[in-house]
């Protein structure tokens, strides 16, 4: 949530314009990366590093999901694990393997920090992102009120 108040149209518009404009400078072509690639950029940009990019396809050829998502405690949420270099060199998250024993060691900064600068944290190619319209809200169901005689709105 950016510190911009909801409903202040000009600010929203300005922010959208600026982001669109920035994205244009930054991204000459639409991303066509592999399904399941994650950009992690909670802090990297702010510290002058390119965002980290993690590819699921590469790692799932080598490990089952269970290793990372049960044993190593990666939550199912892009950016949700608040990964930092301090945790990594303590052997947590990526550092559980990128320690020179299971995989190459952490001094190879550019291998992980390979993202286009300015790319926000996101999951590449997810179904939600590719939808033309927002997901359909059913008429009946837990969240919706009982169907009225005539549709309102």
């Amino acid at each position: 949530m950016l510190p911009i108040m909801k409903g202040r149209i000009t600010w929203r518009a300005l922010a959208l314009g600026v982001v669109a404009w920035a994205a244009m400078l930054v991204a000459p072509a639409p991303a066509q990366a592999e399904y399941g690639d994650v950009v992690i950029n909670n802090y990297a940009d702010a510290a002058g590093m390119r965002p980290a990019v993690f590819s699921h396809w590469f790692h799932r050829i080598r490990f089952r999901c269970k290793v990372c998502h049960a044993d190593l405690g990666f939550q199912f949420k892009a950016g949700g694990n608040k990964i930092t270099m301090a945790k990594i060199i303590d052997g947590k998250f990526c550092g559980a393997c990128h320690n020179g024993e299971i995989a190459w060691s952490v001094e190879n900064c550019g291998m992980c920090h390979s993202g286009v600068p300015g790319t926000p944290t996101h999951f590449h190619g997810s179904t939600v992102q590719t939808l033309v319209a927002p997901p359909y809200q059913p008429l009946t169901g837990s969240a919706a009120p009982a169907p009225a005689a005539a549709p309102k709105k």
Binding site: I9, M24, Q32, F76
Partner: protein, 247 residues
């Protein structure tokens, strides 16, 4: 709702205006040949559209694509220009970063793996069953065997699509029980309310399907909807049809 639409329109229009003026101020960014606004740049990281960040869920997605090119053959269908592009060309990784050129390209890695038409275009279940890959179950022990449980859960579906079969076997080949139970699913048949919109929003099955496991597209519906309805099954008629005064 009307207000939202208006807001959205104004946001869109104003940002197009900004984008437009930004274009003219920055000569190195050429506008598209057809003069349209480069929508692709926004779709580059759609989850970051500012309305997503700032607005409530009912205005989650803004599609500037619908504003321009209204008479083009495909207003909304976007086809990927290529698949399995090498890292330096995938648009997500920076070709200026030297290590980007050392990263593995997916195309040669996927060669010989059973194909599908969606996601990574690899049938990961079959790949594993055929032992084409040997992903570790334990971080350090290459020979540890997974704890596989073979239990199918059938979920009858009210609509005309085939019923859903949730197979524990294929899931426990990859995942541990605690990945799903109890945070995503209460381990009791029928105890969980699931529907397609929750899945598309990234809940329930959609925590993984649509992100890492195969995505939700026309070609994958039958992966989950795999138990055919009985021959004499007919969709229930809606009340409006039963009571239709103009029948």
């Amino acid at each position: 709702m009307n207000l939202h639409k208006k807001t959205l329109f104004m946001v869109g229009a104003f940002s197009l205006f900004l984008v437009g003026s930004a274009c003219s101020a920055q000569p190195q960014v050429a506008p598209r040949p057809d003069g349209s606004v480069p929508v692709k740049d926004l779709s580059y990281a759609p989850e970051y559209k500012p309305v997503d960040e700032m607005a409530q869920s009912d205005v989650q997605v803004i599609h500037i694509a619908q504003v321009d090119d209204i008479n083009s053959f495909n207003r909304n269908l976007k086809k990927p220009k290529g698949i399995h592009l090498p890292p330096a060309e995938d648009g997500l990784r920076d070709p200026q970063n030297e290590a980007t050129h050392i990263l593995a390209a997916p195309k040669p890695a996927f060669e010989g793996l059973p194909p599908t038409e969606y996601g990574n275009r690899v049938d990961w279940v079959k790949t594993l069953d055929d032992k084409k890959i040997r992903p570790r179950w334990e971080r350090e022990d290459p020979d540890a065997e997974p704890f596989v449980m073979d239990l199918d859960i059938v979920r009858p579906v009210k609509a005309s699509v085939p019923d859903v079969v949730f197979p524990h076997r294929q899931h426990t080949e990859w995942l541990f029980c605690s990945n799903c139970h109890p945070a995503i699913f209460i381990p009791q048949k029928g105890a969980n309310q699931i529907n397609m919109s929750a899945i598309l929003l990234g809940q329930k099955c959609g925590v993984c399907h649509g992100k890492v496991s195969f995505p939700i597209t026309t070609k994958s519906c039958r992966k989950c909807h795999s138990k055919p309805k009985p021959d004499d099954w007919k969709p229930p008629l809606s009340e409006a049809t039963l009571k239709n005064p103009w029948k």
